[in-house]
């Protein structure tokens, strides 16, 4: 079981190297390699059957049984939580790769763009599958390094400056993560996440070491999530990247390196306690309101979207701060929805920039008749992020409010509902200014973008609508199995034991 697991990392890695080799002889082929590798990942992620599996890198792995059972070797672990995010990476990655076909002109650096694009995907997939903390760190660094390069792709002053800031803060975060890993290794002697969670569950680790490690992980992964006090890099970095990369960074990277890693490390490995949950709630409230308020002052469409990524991650953090199964499920559902609608929004912003020649909202307007497909995509994604039923954003925000209320956190629920209202206000303004209203004389000659650019957006918006309409049918199974991999629904056994069983392949007791 699980022999296909390494393909999730190997396929984009090989595609990246193929792009590098073809840089000289056939640079025009490299965009298609990206599309092919993303379609392959999509087929793999959709086709994966069975609950969970473990694969050892190079086929070399030993499970030592007995009381202090532990695993030797580099384990790649696929469980419900990983599968949800792998599917997201494949869906958004495919949309972005197709969009990039026509968005990026054939230029000398194009092959290198696709090398980094595939590396980014390989790093994210690797982080989602890593079975030990150090490999999680390595894959987080692979994905981050690729993203630093992609933010600087246009090599203008602003882009490189944004990338420099992003790199410095990102590396600071990675150093905090490595320090946290060092603390846990010094305290237990394990790196494998299942063994670590077993050792911590047996109570052999001093609470002060756990608290120190948890703080470092919240700092490190919180920075990768762009939670409010650590968000300074995101509003510069995400808009500076080309549109398909903005979609990948805002749609995926802050979730795979941020939310997924937080859930995996805090819930499964360290075990989340009340203090850490309180910190997550506070960070979440700050992000929800801070992001949405700072977005009001912006005129650049992509910066508005970037600040709203900070705000939307706030909802996910607040839901993670609840600690119940419902809270985790709501958080993951909102992360899934945000990946779909925020990537659609960033791709639409790229299309609008192509149609109108500007990113400033005040200079746009009235392009609905000139560019109907782009406009429909943007409006659909706006309705989704503002939480208008029946779009998916409504259901996940409702679920978060229900989870907050059922945990008795009414004050936080009010804060979240208020931020949702502010989001609605912003996006009513955005869609009104961007596509409706009077057409400026300057835009008389505006034309629709090529089909390769609006089809991915419309497909993502259709998924938003489908996930909103059909979530009792298909989506809740996906979310439910992901949440159950983290938290047992009735708390009848420790949360981490599900993961330990997955890795060890048998009940631990």
């Amino acid at each position: 079981m699980g022999t296909y697991i390494p393909v999730f990392v190997a396929l984009p890695l090989l595609a990246g190297f193929a792009c590098l080799l073809l840089k000289g002889p056939a640079p025009r082929a490299t965009p298609w390699i990206s599309v092919a590798s993303m379609l392959g990942l999509l087929a793999l992620a959709v086709g994966v059957r069975g609950d969970a599996g473990v694969s050892f890198a190079g086929g070399w792995g030993v499970r030592l049984s007995g009381d202090g059972a532990f695993v030797v070797g580099i384990a790649l672990v696929l469980d419900g939580l990983s599968r949800l995010f792998l599917l997201l990476v494949a869906v958004v990655g495919t949309a972005s790769a197709v969009y990039a076909l026509r968005y990026l002109e054939p230029e000398p650096g194009l092959s290198l763009f696709h090398v980094l694009f595939n590396l980014l995907v390989a790093g994210m997939n690797g982080a989602l599958l890593a079975g030990d903390l150090f490999n999680l760190y390595v894959f987080v660094e692979v994905a981050s390094l690729a993203s630093y390069g992609l933010v600087a792709y246009r090599t203008g002053g602003t882009e490189v400056e944004a990338a420099f800031k992003y790199l410095v803060l990102g590396t600071l975060a990675s150093t905090a993560i490595l320090l946290g890993i060092t603390v846990l290794y010094a305290a237990t002697g394990y790196l494998n996440m299942a063994d670590l969670s077993g050792a911590i569950g047996r109570g052999g680790v001093p609470p002060v070491a756990l608290l120190f490690a948890s703080s470092l992980f919240v700092l490190g992964f919180g920075t990768k999530t762009a939670a409010m006090p650590f968000h300074a890099w995101l509003p510069d970095a995400h808009p500076s990247a080309p549109a398909p990369i903005s979609a990948m960074l805002s749609g995926l990277l802050i979730k795979t390196l941020g939310i997924y890693a937080l859930v995996r490390v805090l819930y499964v490995v360290v075990g989340i306690d009340e203090n850490v949950r309180l910190v997550l709630t506070v960070l979440g409230c700050l992000s929800m309101w801070g992001g949405v308020l700072l977005a009001q002052a912006q005129d650049d469409l992509k910066r508005i979207l970037a600040f709203h990524s900070v705000s939307q991650m706030g909802y996910v953090l607040v839901a993670l701060g609840i600690g119940s199964w419902l809270g985790v499920a709501a958080a993951l559902f909102h992360a899934l929805n945000h990946a779909l609608f925020k990537s659609a929004l960033f791709l639409s912003a790229g299309s609008l920039e192509r149609v109108t020649g500007t990113r400033r909202l005040s200079e746009m307007g009235g392009v609905f008749r000139r560019a109907p497909a782009t406009s429909v995509g943007l409006v659909g994604a706006c309705l989704s992020i503002s939480g208008i039923p029946p779009f998916n954003g409504f259901w996940s925000k409702l679920l978060i409010l229900i989870a907050l209320a059922s945990a008795g956190q009414y004050a936080v629920a009010v804060i979240a509902a208020g931020a949702a209202l502010m989001t609605l206000v912003t996006f009513v303004k955005v869609q009104h200014k961007a596509v409706f209203g009077a057409l400026p004389a300057r835009l008389e000659g505006a034309r629709e973008v090529p089909a390769a650019m609006y089809v991915p957006v419309l497909a993502l918006v259709a998924l938003c609508l489908l996930s909103g309409l059909l979530w009792p049918v298909g989506v809740d199974g996906l979310i439910g199995s992901a949440a159950s991999a983290v938290r047992a629904p009735a708390d009848e056994r420790p949360a981490a034991s599900v993961y330990v069983e997955t890795v060890h392949g048998r009940p631990t007791r």
Binding site: E141, T158, V160, V168, T171, L172, T182, Y185
Partner: protein
Amino acid sequence: MTFYALTLALAGVGIYGLLAKKNMLKKVLGLAILDHAVNLLLVAVGYRAGASPPILLAGDDPAAFVRGSVDPLPQALVLTSIVIGLGVTMLLVAMVLRLHQRYGTLDVDRMDRLKG
């Protein structure tokens, strides 16, 4: 314990350089110092006083080796971490070079066009 405290002090030096210096190259150096402070801490975690280097020669008794050598795993981790740090530093220096070409200065305050 003294050694742990010293590595954390070194990390403090790195963070100071990163936050307080306006010159981008000094920020890069601060980041590199911080990086190596954590690497040193990682090596120190695997150290045991009086133990042998973790090299298993043909004919050595594995059990005696496990009892008598320092922990090899942190050393392997540090090697990986150093390589990652090298990649990060190279990329940073390349960006500093590009920014210097563009603005003719290394001072972050004199090029700041972004507003956080």
